[in-house]
C-alpha cells in the first residue's frame, strides 16, 4: 500500500527497512519519555507556590543530571551505529537494475542477460481505474524478483532526480554522469511505490516509481518474454 495519509512509515518490504523501523520506534520511545518527564517537571514547577530563598548550588544533582542524559544517549547511539554498519554490509547481488531519471519519467534497463530497456511514465489520472492510486501508477512497472539481493544503479540523463521506494528503505539522488549504487532485497511480493525526490522541473511531482516484486521464476519468465521482443 503506497498511499498512506497517516504519519507513519510504510510497512517494510525489505529486511533493512524493518530494522530502520525498529530503530525509529525505539528512538521515538526514548524521545517521548524524555519529553513527558521534562514536561511533567516543568508544569509542576510552574503551578507551584513554594519558594526557596537560599538555593545556591548542588553538586550531586548536577552530576546526576549530566550522567543520566549521557547514558540515555548511549542507549540511542548503540542501536544507531549497529544499524549504520548493517546498512553498509557487502553482499553479492544477483540482479542489477539500472534506473535512469529523465525529465519527466524513468528509464529502466536490465542488461544481465539480454538488453531489456523501457520507459516508465506516470499513468494519467484519466487512464486510471477506480482501485488504482492517482499520481502513483505507471504504465510500465519495474519488475524485480523477491528474496534476491538486488543492486540498483541509478543515474540521470539531464538534471538531478532521486529514486526512492520508501517500503524498501532506499533513496538516492541520480546525478548525470554519476552512477550511484543502492543495494536491497525484497522479502514479499507486491507493488511498492515511490516518487521522484529531487525537484527536477515542471513535472517533478508526476514521475512516480513502481516496483513490482514477484517470484524468481516469474521474474525469469518475464525476462525471457521481453528478451524475445
Amino acid at each position: 500500500n503506497g498511499n498512506m495519509k497517516s504519519p507513519n512509515l510504510q510497512d517494510a518490504a525489505s529486511p533493512l527497512m524493518e530494522q530502520l523501523i525498529f530503530f525509529h520506534d525505539h528512538a521515538m520511545l526514548v524521545l517521548i519519555l524524555i519529553t513527558t518527564l521534562v514536561g511533567f517537571m516543568l508544569s509542576s514547577l510552574l503551578f507551584n507556590s513554594l519558594t526557596n530563598r537560599i538555593l545556591l548550588e548542588h553538586q550531586t544533582i548536577e552530576t546526576i543530571w549530566t550522567i543520566l542524559p549521557a547514558i540515555i544517549l548511549i542507549f540511542i547511539a548503540l542501536p544507531s551505529l549497529r544499524l549504520l554498519y548493517l546498512l553498509d554490509e557487502v553482499n553479492n547481488p544477483s540482479v542489477t537494475l539500472k534506473a535512469i531519471g529523465r525529465q519527466w519519467y524513468w528509464s529502466y534497463e536490465y542488461s544481465d542477460f539480454t538488453q531489456i530497456s523501457f520507459d516508465s511514465y506516470m499513468a494519467s489520472s484519466q487512464d486510471i481505474s477506480e482501485s488504482e492510486f492517482r499520481l502513483l501508477e505507471v504504465d510500465n512497472r519495474s519488475i524485480l524478483p523477491m528474496n534476491t539481493q538486488i543492486r540498483a544503479l541509478i543515474s540521470a540523463g539531464d538534471v538531478i532526480h532521486s529514486w526512492t521506494v520508501p517500503a524498501l528503505g532506499v533513496k538516492a539522488s541520480t546525478v548525470p554522469g554519476r552512477l550511484n549504487q543502492i543495494k536491497f532485497q525484497i522479502n514479499r511480493p507486491g507493488l511498492f511505490y515511490g516518487q521522484c525526490s529531487e525537484v527536477c522541473g515542471a513535472n517533478h511531482s508526476f514521475m512516480p516509481i513502481v516496483v513490482e516484486s514477484t517470484s524468481i521464476k516469474s521474474f525469469l519468465n518475464w525476462i525471457s518474454f521481453n528478451s524475445d521482443n
Binding site: S111, T114, Q115, T148, R178
Partner: protein, 77 residues
C-alpha cells in the same frame, strides 16, 4: 555466462561486487570495465574468451546510453 534464449532459461547472475569499488559511487566500476574490455581485446586479440568477463560487467553495470556514446567515440578514434 552468456545466455541463449533458445535453449535455456537465464540464471540470476550479475556483475559481482568489486572490492576496488566498495562505495556508493560506481561510475568508475562501469568506466574501468569498459576500458579494460577494449584494452584486453587489443592486447589479447578479439577471440580471447576471458576478455568477455569485462564485457559482462560493463553490460550489466553501464547505462546503455554511455556504452553507445563511448562506442561512437571509439569508432571516431
Amino acid at each position: 555466462m552468456s545466455v541463449s534464449i533458445m535453449d535455456s532459461e537465464p540464471k540470476l547472475e550479475t556483475a559481482p561486487f568489486d572490492p576496488r569499488f566498495p562505495n556508493q559511487n560506481q561510475t568508475r566500476y562501469c568506466y574501468q570495465s569498459f576500458v579494460d574490455y577494449h584494452r584486453c581485446q587489443k592486447i589479447k586479440g578479439e577471440d580471447y574468451e576471458p576478455c568477455e568477463y569485462f564485457k559482462k560487467v560493463f553490460s550489466s553495470v553501464c547505462p546503455g546510453d554511455w556504452v553507445e556514446k563511448w562506442g561512437e567515440q571509439l569508432e571516431n578514434g
